[in-house]
């Protein structure tokens, strides 16, 4: 981000940005310890000491909602007023979930030729069909073509492993031990039909391309559906991992075989491979064919790209003993006492009293 004269707006980098950026008056990325004195919460001007206060508190800041704010938030006056004040929502009016969406109906009517602004003729049929004011289900576009259906008979899904939500980073030395390679899970019966067994390498092909991966046989999946862990496979050298890291040699991504665009129609036009209303990429519409690799094929995922490994000034450690310095015989005063920041399930007495003040117990400055 730059100022009007082109100079850097946050020359101090991300720390500068996260402390000083305000998307609207008194509202910034971090909600705790705002204001010049650090005595305001949620809203307030930037506080130059804000990051230090977060560090003091193990990166956590907390404030409990008053009991009156905790239910039916879409129509809870106390909550809506609080959230508006905090800058989270623009209005205090109740938020009503509309089963019938007038906005969608406006698009559909435009598709039918009503109104002053009309969409291109070629798109009108699509607008009429998919911009339904009521929730509808429609057949995935990639399945409309029956020729493809027969060539790519299997649904393929991917999901992120739960532990990759605890921290999004495969370069994390702990998480990559949990999962550094993924396999394609399929039902035993499908595997049998395809002549595959546990650990076999197979080509997974879609109209867009093909990727090589290893098979795992399970029974807890639909017979015509396969799935794998997302976010594990990486290009060699990515995130500074070794070129031989399992992430690069065995991990694979279905991204390689999902297209941004649908295959060309008869007139050559290619629609976006996404939901026409929301634009959400149609990851789960993927259909594939699976074929066992030939015996002489390399037991390694494909496609492979040149390594992006850079030369390091300091080599990566072969042994990591994170925490050795924390092993205490003696308490280390500047580190403070042991505190736990994860999974606090405490009932806050002060919060139950409906008071917005921070709990003094968790006010980092008091410890």
């Amino acid at each position: 981000m730059v100022n009007d004269d082109g100079s850097e707006k946050y020359p101090g980098g991300y720390a500068d940005y996260i402390t000083n950026h305000m998307r609207t008056a008194k509202v910034g990325p971090l909600a705790g310890w705002r204001g010049e004195q650090g005595d305001q919460s949620i809203t307030g001007n930037a506080n130059p000491d804000q990051l230090a206060r977060y560090i003091d508190n193990g990166c956590f800041w907390r404030q409990e909602f008053a009991p009156s704010c905790r239910y039916y938030k879409f129509a809870n006056r106390d909550y809506l007023e609080f959230a508006h004040e905090a800058g989270w929502i623009g209005r205090t009016e109740p938020i009503v979930m509309q089963l019938y969406s007038e906005n969608l109906q406006k698009f559909r009517l435009a598709g039918l030729g009503h109104g002053d602004t009309l969409p291109p003729v070629a798109d009108r049929a699509r607008l009429q069909k998919y911009f339904d004011p009521l929730p509808i289900w429609y057949e995935p576009f990639s399945e409309l073509d029956t020729r493809e259906l027969s060539s790519f008979p299997i649904h393929a899904l991917s999901q992120r492993p739960m532990h990759m939500y605890h921290s999004w980073g495969g370069q994390n030395a702990w998480l990559r031990q949990l999962t550094s390679a993924n396999r394609l899970h399929m039902h035993f019966k499908l595997a049998e039909k395809l002549g595959l067994k546990e650990g076999d390498w197979a080509w997974i092909t879609s109209p867009h391309g093909k990727v090589k991966g290893q098979i795992a046989c399970v029974s807890g999946v639909n017979v015509d559906t396969v799935w794998t862990w997302n976010a594990i496979g990486k290009r060699a050298g990515a995130w500074d991992l070794d070129d031989k890291a399992p992430e690069a040699r065995k991990g694979f991504l279905l991204n390689h075989i999902i297209s941004e665009l649908l295959p060309p129609r008869e007139d050559g036009y290619r629609y976006s491979n996404s939901d026409p209303v929301t634009g959400q990429a149609a990851w789960f519409d993927l259909r594939v064919a699976i074929e066992k690799c030939a015996v002489d094929e390399l037991e390694e995922t494909s496609p492979q790209f040149p390594s992006m490994k850079r030369k390091r000034q300091v080599p990566l450690p072969k042994i990591s003993q994170f925490g050795r310095d924390l092993k205490s015989g003696e308490p280390v005063p500047e580190r403070g006492v042991h505190r736990e920041f994860v999974g606090n399930r405490e009932q806050h007495e002060d919060a139950q009293l409906g008071n917005f003040q921070r709990s003094p117990k968790y006010n980092g400055g008091d410890d």
Binding site: R176, Q177, L178, V218
Partner: protein, 315 residues
Amino acid sequence: MNPAFSVIFFTTASGAGYGLLGLLGAGSFFSFLPADRTLMIAASVTALLLITGGLLSSTFHLGHPERAWRAVSQWRTSWLSREGVSSLVTYIPATLFTYTWVFCDIDNSMIRLSGLATVVLAVITVFTTAMIYASLRSIHAWNNKWVPLNYLLLALATGLILLNAFLAWFAADTVGLTIVAIAVLGGSLVSKLLYWRFIDSSSSSSSNASAIGTRPGSTVKLTQSPHSQANYLQQEMVFVIARKHARKLRRIATLMTFVIPSVLLAATLFSNSKLNVACATLAVPVATIGILIERWLFFAEARHTVALYYGAQSA
């Protein structure tokens, strides 16, 4: 179990050492060995070197060898500690035994007494070694009566092979002990074959159903291992050896540990003295290689119950 070479070398070397030492002690006490000072000194020093080498080798297996002295403290509960204690205690009569052979009269009663103490302690030490394995309920292939029997018989057999070689080198009469050696080799082969039959025909009472508490009769399949790469537990305790490979090694171990040494020893009964020495000597390296393979298999074929958590169908 992943075969740890330092432990294999230890049990092989110290087993042979205690076997030889025990035989020398027994021979002196019951007077079935020639009262040849040089022979007795050479043989007992060899036995002590084998034992000491084995013990030192076993400390290479430790993460902190400098703390090894602590291992003698828990003799009330731990077979490993008992082994440590008895191996150290054995040094007292064994050293005295060797000392009296070097410095005292051949008819000194101390030779007979220290010899007897040495036999008893050597047997106890080999038994404690075997019990380290036999006491582990988690490993079905070790937790049975064949294990101490095999360890004791193989220590005796390898001791006899060594003793025969010494007798041949010193041109002493070997016929009686050769026949005993062949008989003991036969006995230990039978015991080993029965052991193999036992581990082939039975498995741990723990199953992958009892490991995770599902009803027996269900099939259990590991669909996600806790980690993508093998962790310590798998590296140390989930060692898989192909059945075909194990069969082949068993045949080699049988031939080299039992059959060939027996044939070589038998040959000494009918040959001249030169061939006699050659045969008795050759039996030593052949049996050593055989027993190293046998010990390697003892680890490699042993399945630990933790494997049940890593996809094994039985343990």
